[in-house]
Symmetry: D3
Subunit: 70 residues, 6 copies
């Protein structure tokens, strides 16, 4: 019944599996009386054009950082 | 003004229409003083690689079930 | 595994039960191959000071409507 | 640390940047003691087949309006 | 129909009004063809015991900062 | 910048700290290039009258289970 949402970047399949396994173990460790099968994880992959940090597009920020690192 | 989110699998268009109509009728039936036009439904279709149940990827679980069913 | 969120007003207990039963029946009707026990509904009750419509607080809008209605 | 989610239509890149900049300025204006870099905005672009208003698919409603407008 | 969620700290009423007005003006400025009345804002006030940054409770982090500022 | 939401039951403070620490370590382990301080966790505690499983209120289900257990 508990549901965990992860809002983050796009992930390859093996990292998705790792994230889901890890979150479920953490949550089930904290709440051991809820059966493991009841934990649901939903991964939300956001494109860097759809995320802003400090008012700036993440895609623009990353480009800027790359250029500064030159 | 009330907003209903559905986190589930990918759906064909006619099932989307059915889901939206049904949710709105239920919610408006419970809250008849709110005009029907004020109810918003947003369907969130999640890929089975982005959902985990019991710590396992839904895509892996489905594959396993198919193999067990042989 | 599907999860339905309802963002709306505060509700008495019998209306919560009605909403949860109705949403589950609709969703399970559209997706009959998913067992009924797998559907989760989470009701989010929002105070009218925390909701805005058209840029105005819902609590202010309701007060205004009551005054206009005399 | 505050997070703003926008559930709306698909947007071109320059409108995404404008939305993210504007939301962050508003939120940081209201909460000036939280540093600007701590504000996160996530834009959720929903297809008009996944949104319902008044129990009707937004895509169907738009089509109907266009036909009525002739 | 667009919905804006703000996940942040508890706010006094006048700051809620300011936040809702500001978000709506920004979103309606970016999407002028959607009528202003269609924009919904929902403020989610989170207790500092329910938010973590960098793996640490916000309430613990704030206490630590106060002590360090001592 | 990644944000993790946990929708679950009410938790005592030490379990909140444990949940937040654990989720952040898992997510940062999967995404080691994102600095730890950028991970945000928001715990959403839901009353058992606001959650439904299989169309039934969680509070009703728990009461029934207790009665069946005698």
């Amino acid at each position: 019944m508990p549901v965990i949402f992860f809002e983050g970047p796009k992930l390859p399949l093996e990292k998705k599996a790792e994230m889901i396994k890890g979150f479920t173990e953490v949550a089930n460790g904290v709440l051991p009386r809820i059966p493991k099968e009841a934990f649901v994880v939903i991964l939300k992959e956001n494109h860097i054009d759809n995320v802003g940090v400090g008012g700036e597009l993440l895609s623009v920020m990353k480009k800027r950082h790359r250029e500064e690192a030159g």
